[in-house]
Amino acid sequence: MKSFITAALLAIAVPAFAHHSIVAEFDPNQPIEFKGAVKKIEWTNPHIYTSVETTSADGKSVVYRVEGGPPNALYRQGWRKDTLKVGDVVTVKGIRAKSATSFNVGQATITMSDGRRIFGTGGNRAASAETQQQ
């Protein structure tokens, strides 16, 4: 049941607005979770990308591009391009791209160190702890 709930949250977290196939690019067999620092925000259609730098098991620096929802939908939920700042420390959960050379992460959730979910449902305007922990 726990895995179902986790997967359900993953699936719901990023609205299924994508008009490219999620399963075409990403592999649900490769879940990934890591902590790192925000390097860049690409506020672009049809998905935003948040670049997050972390350290791999062999000690090397790796920058993942974390795919998010469509910027217009995120804007309407109260999120902004500068909601996350370069240098913010976040935890990312998602699934890796099928391509071994790609560092894109799909179906992702981004969580701040204080527990706030970023770019999920319930944007900054609905800034209650309840909505952000949904």
Partner: protein, 286 residues
């Protein structure tokens, strides 16, 4: 891992249901001012209801979910309904619409993972998927025409309603088709045909042929609400006409239509291979 895959598939179903639900609050803008209390439907100087406004049209990735009979508006029943199509590209697909043999073949072979989907290439979604999209629609209306401004990819669709207007008869087939509107009482009836056959009806990939005649109706029931129906008449793909009935809600005034450029990052994803390049089928309507 098997548990995760099963859970993930179940979750996608849950998500599909969730996102098919009409008018999620989030689509109307978190924290946005609520729409004004409903009043009577506004009218133009010619007495016709004025559909103008910025609307939340329900995101509909799967038109088979709530399919009704086009005549009775009752839930539709048909032969083979619900039969699992084990030989489809995706073996979870079912006989979920009243397919002809041709339509069933197209439904079974739709392969967005292996072959890509034209929408990932930012090509026109088609009239059906424009209206199914989650990003909202601005309607502009004059006594002679209605314009639909779809936020999805910043597309538009123009519908003349003046019966003196005639489209050229030799217009080329089009991704979005060509529309003509007329009034049935207070209901705007938009009949669209002339499709190039490259498009699918929805995100799930339900098929149609070039012969499809799609009829959308719009009835502004009050200042905040439109009753929208879409009827698919395509004897090549379906043995019977079928319909969806949906409710559009007026967005609050501070929820404005915005630019949407699909190419902004899909272009790079196409060039680096993350999104497959779409090619027009050579036998698109055979």
């Amino acid at each position: 891992m098997k548990k995760f895959l099963v859970a993930f598939a179940m979750a996608l179903v849950v998500a599909a249901v969730f996102w098919t639900a009409p008018v999620p609050a989030a689509q109307r803008g978190r924290g946005a001012a609520p729409a004004a209390p409903a009043g009577p439907a506004p009218r133009l100087s010619n007495g016709k209801p004025d559909l103008s406004g910025h609307w939340t049209n329900p995101y509909t990735p799967n038109m088979a979910m709530r399919v009704v009979d086009a005549t009775t508006r009752e839930p539709m029943t048909f032969a083979r309904q619900g039969e699992v199509l084990k030989d489809a590209i995706d073996p979870k697909r079912t006989f979920d619409l009243p397919y002809t043999d041709w339509g069933l073949k197209k439904w079974k072979e739709y392969d967005p993972v292996g072959k890509g989907d034209y929408t990932g290439n930012c090509l026109p979604f088609g009239m059906s998927r424009n209206i199914n999209s989650p990003h909202g629609t601005q309607i502009l209306q004059s006594p002679d025409a209605v314009a639909f401004l779809f936020e999805q990819n910043t597309w538009f669709h123009w519908v003349p309603t003046n019966d003196k207007f005639k489209w050229p008869e030799d217009l080329p087939e089009a991704w979005n088709g060509v529309s003509v509107g007329h009034w049935d009482g207070d209901t705007l009836v938009v009949v669209t045909k002339g499709f190039n056959g490259y498009t699918r009806l929805d995100t799930n990939g339900h098929p149609h042929s070039k012969q499809m005649v799609m009829t959308n109706t719009f009835l502004r029931k009050d200042s905040n609400t439109i009753e929208h129906t879409v009827t698919v008449h395509d004897p090549k793909a379906y043995t019977r006409d079928w319909m969806n009935v949906r409710t559009w809600r007026l967005k609050p005034a501070n929820d404005v239509i915005m630019e949407y450029s699909c190419e902004e990052n899909n272009l790079a994803n196409i060039l680096n291979g993350a999104i497959k390049v779409w090619h027009a089928p050579e036998d698109d309507d055979e």
